[in-house]
């Protein structure tokens, strides 16, 4: 683990008094390697290591802990800070909440839509799921299956190819069934697909969502920054959900996303069941990335 490696590097440092440029160099290299292996974006790693270095150099070696532990603490605190400090809960209004899920193909949007519906129902809301993926085979069937499992209403139209139309009609349905939160599942798409990104912008105009959640796969590598930047620029993403964290992916993509765009990470997916869902805890993610 990185903490182990850092402690080993500084093992002989007791009695040196200060963490200097030279004895820090090896530690910084270990941190760079660990973060790259954890899939943190190359540029984010560079900035991060520079930030840690400036906090570590010249620091007095405290008597009570080893220099290695001290550097580990600086790295850990810097990570937690970058990830968003203490978890900030999402405040919904009493009525008329609209949440749109967007992201690349296969990242976990449909599953997360159902999880969010269940999560908000537990918080006392009356959710309505809306199926806006009219292109993937059986996408609507998938959302309907999940909604039925939860006994949560779902609005869809298998015969309509115009998603903006379906969105408009779903808002009427939202009024009719007195839903307090409407959760829109959209089709996966590439950030470089101009036409489909325009479609999202059109949907945003019609839906006026308070929340646009970008769903990101925890195993995403360096490309995480490229895609989130595009989605964010086009739509102003308000939050991120990181899925498949039940695996052993270190999840560096989460750090890259937060560090580059400032988009807060709100939720995590921890499995395929509806209950495999939680709010995001920055310190847990920091420990996971550190390895």
């Amino acid at each position: 683990s990185l903490s182990g490696k850092l402690c080993k590097i500084f093992r002989n440092l007791k009695g040196y008094g200060r963490l200097s440029e030279s004895n820090i160099k090896e530690a910084m290299r270990e941190i760079k390697l660990a973060l790259l292996e954890a899939d943190v974006n190359y540029r984010v790693v560079k900035d991060f290591v520079a930030a840690v270095k400036s906090k570590a150099v010249g620091k007095d070696v405290i008597d009570s802990i080893t220099p290695g532990q001290q550097v580990v603490k600086i790295v850990h605190d810097e990570l937690v800070n970058l990830m968003g400090g203490t978890p900030e809960p999402v405040e919904l209004k009493k009525y008329n909440n609209r949440l749109m899920l967007v992201g690349l193909q296969g990242s976990g949007k449909t599953t997360t839509a159902a999880k969010l519906a269940s999560y908000y129902r537990k918080k006392g809301h009356n959710p309505l799921l809306v199926g806006l993926d009219v292109q993937r085979p059986a996408a609507i069937d998938q959302l309907v299956f999940l909604a039925k499992q939860l006994d949560i209403p779902v609005f869809y139209d298998k015969k309509e190819k115009n998603v903006v139309d379906i969105a408009k009609r779903s808002l009427i349905e939202m009024q009719r069934c007195k839903a307090t939160i409407c959760i829109f599942d959209t089709a996966g798409r590439l950030h470089i697909d101009q036409q489909l990104m325009d479609e999202l912008a059109d949907l945003k105009q019609v839906i006026c969502p308070q929340d646009i959640l970008f769903v990101a796969d925890a195993m995403t590598g360096q490309d995480a920054v490229t895609s989130i930047k595009e989605f964010n620029e086009k739509l102003s993403v308000t939050g991120v959900a990181v899925t498949k964290l039940d695996g052993d992916a270190r999840g560096g993509a989460a750090l890259s996303i937060k560090a580059t765009t400032g988009c807060p990470i709100r939720f995590v997916g921890l499995g395929e069941k509806i209950s495999d869902f939680d709010v995001f805890y920055p310190d847990r993610m920091a420990s996971r990335i550190l390895g």
Binding site: K32, L33, L36, E37, A38, D39, N41, Y42, L104, Q105, G106, S107, G108, Q135, R136, P137, A138, A139, D141, Q142, V144, F145, L146, Q149, L190, H191, I192, D217, A218, M219, T220, G221, Q222, D223, A224, T226, S227, K244, D246, G247, D248, A249, R250, G252, A253, E272
Partner: protein
Amino acid sequence: FSKNTVINEEIIEEIEEILIQADMGFDTVTSVIQKIERSLTKNEKKDVSFIYDAIKNELKNFLSNDTLQPQPEDKDEKNLKIILVVGVNGTGKTTSIAKIANRYLSEGKKVILAACDTFRGAAIEQLEVWAQRSGAYLVKHQHGADAAAVAYDAVEAALARNADYLIIDTAGRLHTNKNLMEELKKIKRIVQKKIINAPHEILMVLDAVTGQNAVPQVKTFNEALSLTGLILTKLDGTAKGGVVIRIQNEFNIPVKYIGIGEQIDDILPFNANDFIDALFE
């Protein structure tokens, strides 16, 4: 002395950034750069384009050795060939199966599909749509059925119908889930019992956006099943999939196909030269 000169630090950083951002992994990138550094003359080390070409050629040779025969067809003419498709959740297994089936069908081959994802909502329905669109025959049970039982039935149906290919779709699963990995082994055993040498291909599907976690994924699936190849999907995006170079290095498992879109024709046999050139674009 010519061999002792090191490549300009700036050029190294530039190459490192490109290849790491292509998800090749720090260790693999470093070892390739060091190897090239040792092989170039003093003057060559000053020529940026020469260095880039040297790196490209090194990577191309490296990938091409084992992928000179990108087609996964070595089957004896008259017999059924079985392809098992596996991988973690959402990587593109079901869609890739549709594309591969379509390729064989357009060659006049008879293709059967097995809906062995009996777990995820509407997984069977999804494969059913693709079967209808492509003209492949689908073997399925009800949602929640035993995946191995569906596989067994599919082999029987493929034999009865004199099919050329049987392609088995499985549920996405994380390599860290031991029970689900056991389920895959069971499907493989069931198929093996029915037909010697089957499954003839076990292809693992990898999403091109995947970072270094692809390595433990492939390691675990390979140890459980002995993979014969990879399908690298979503290369129509901006992710480069460079981690397959590291995978080739550590496990010698070649990429056989690449997915380049969501439609049925969006598949190509893997071409090492095109792939390496794309890393630098």
